[in-house]
Amino acid sequence: MAEPQGYLALVLHAHLPFVRHPEYETFLEEDWLFEAVTECYLPLLDVFAGWERDRVPWKLTMSVTPTLAAMLQDELLRSRCVRHLDSLIALADQELARTSTQPAFHRLARMYRERFVRARRVFVDEYGADLIGALRRFQETGRLEIIASAATHGFLPLMHPNQDAVRAQIEVGVEAYRRAFGRQPLGFWLPECGYSPPDDQLLARCGIRWFVAETHAVLHARPRPRYGPYAPVYCPGSGVAAFARDPESSKQVWSATEGYPGDWDYRDFYRDIGWDLDFEYVRPWLKAGVRSHTGIKYYRITGPTHDKQPYDPDRAREKAAVHAGNFMFNREKQVEYLRAHMDRPPIVVAPYDAELFGHWWFEGPLWLDFLVRKIAYDQETIALTTPSEYLAAYPRCQAAQPSMSSWGYNGYSEVWLNGANDWIYLHLHTAAERMVELAASHPFPDPLTARALNQAARELLLAQSSDWAFIMKTGTMVEYAVRRTKDHIGRFNRLYDQIRRGAVDEGWLEDLERRDNLFPWLDYRVYAAGAGKEMMAPSTLPAASFALGR
């Protein structure tokens, strides 16, 4: 294939907050992980495997946040995930009987049972319950590029001006990546696309070459970028490249009104039997005895009506193919237009939450499968790429300082800073300052104090997760988000007091280490002033970073 007129970089951002409650036999919020594994990650891996099997020339970028990677590697959560799959299979069995008098639903019950059985087989037998290992193997094919992210998905712009807090999120995130994937990351997913100068300099110190930013981070850059969001810019203070999210391709998928996922033939997310059926019937499958989603849903969106029609998988599949073709056609026209005005092929960066695919948008993995295959075989205008490959092919870029920005509502910090959640910042900033103080004042602690210091760092990182502020804003599951924030800050404060008094409660510390066991290798010295790495010049970067053009 000759040089295409433009490139499409699909970026899937996979993230869940760290939710692990060994103190309970079952815990409702742990289902977020199990649902994501069942409905998103396994179907996406299935799609990747299909491309490999059929030798499709695919290219995809994926961020896997450190909290998600840690949960996917956790033995307790893995075993509970298998238990969840077993439970789904049993529920589907029951549904096969219950729907035997309704052919349209009986067919769907059978579909779900087959999916759950297959998911369990693939998860347990094919992947050994190790999805990180599976992703690592796909990365080794050179088709998938996995990028790093901040330690606990902290929203970095609101950690300013405490550079040590921002630096710790980035450095711990990069270290977690190296441990999970065994290599140096080149790209970095800024949580919520939250960028604020000069965070790029902290990324550079960890060897990061590029990050994805919201459209206006580049549109509003100083000086004005010549090619807008369709070519990366180098941050002048670091040389790290900023790739902007393309608004057109985002809108086609994200828009709640115009986006593909809202098509009337697609499966309705909200009509789940956990809500629809008699409570006594579904109660054995509900956590904590409250109605919630089970994953079995029998209706299509149908329209803005309560009178929903049964889901038709064949019709939905056809629609996914149509939508993939439409998306590809629009990208072709987009790059044809852009190419006429640029001295290089434009890059269209299309990032999406990975959890959209399969969970919210049941047909999302199918759409992605159709799209990648169509791009490979049905046209020659665009080619798939990754930002790393694009940078390697077109290393000469404009230098411009991106603007502070995020991909949240209104484009800045409003989602994570509003009347519903602003009370957290006094506590988060105080804790971050205290952590820096502890690191400075305890350069050579005894072993017990060192454990307490590490746990304090862990609690701070967990409290900083952007998810808690987000949930407080959205107004659902608020109690859990508030509780998590208060508990992590409370535990941090208690550790701080004990460390300062030289009276660490070892039994309680052990309990904390068991519960909040994120990053067992964490070294609190990441908060020590000046602990940051020196900026890595290109010559010191791994050779792989300059051998990207495959």
Partner: protein, 273 residues
Amino acid sequence: MAGTVDGRYELPAGYGVERLGLLVRDPRCVFAFWEVTAGGWEAAVRRLPPGGEPPRLVLQVRDRPHESARATLGRGTPGVDECVREYTVAGADRWYVHLDGPGRAVAAVIGARSGSAFVPIARSPTVHTPPGTVCPQEAGEWLTIHAIYGRLAGGPAGATSPGLWARLALSRDDAVSSPSSWGQASWGEPAARHGRAPVDAALVIDTELIVYGRVSDGAARVSINGQPVTVRSDGSFGFRCALPEGTLVLPVEARFPGGQRRFATPVVTRETY
């Protein structure tokens, strides 16, 4: 709390230290949060001139457009004065401050005021709000990563050129920027938030049918509507199915170990008006 018990935590109202933090919410808004201790307040009040108006806690926000212009464009804007706003914030511990425009350098002070006298208690660092607009200056450098590192080390810069900016310039209103409404933490959204709520007072009726019975031998095999059902050791069995509108015929068959077969066929009609 002591020992291994880890209860539920409530956070303190403050940490006993005077402080004022300032965060950027968007190009036109900053957020101040503070802690003023009783001791800090009393010390500030003591420094006020005696006999004046009753002291009040005020937040001063200094908006420095010339400094921000220097930061973003490398040059100052002569003739633009520093703007100082002041808010009485007694009883509050945080405040949103709306600015006149984007791209500002902003700092804040919290303190005690009595008449024209003001005693600061805590100061914030200076923060910079984003420009919020397309930069009028297009001149730029085109570099490779190595050239950037060279320049950081003191080397020369690259070239510039005009472009197709007008076609690419998009306002924020055109952009889609709320994926969070779909994504990540929305795992936690219960269905009641989207569409489950009966916004138009909808009533949905479903019916199910429970068929149950007993066979004289727990080893017998029973099927209902062709579906095998579990027979308990005491011979009882049960079957639950959806009851759709219309007439439902449910043949039940029992097969005993000795080869005998027994049949029963309940017929149920559902009519919903």
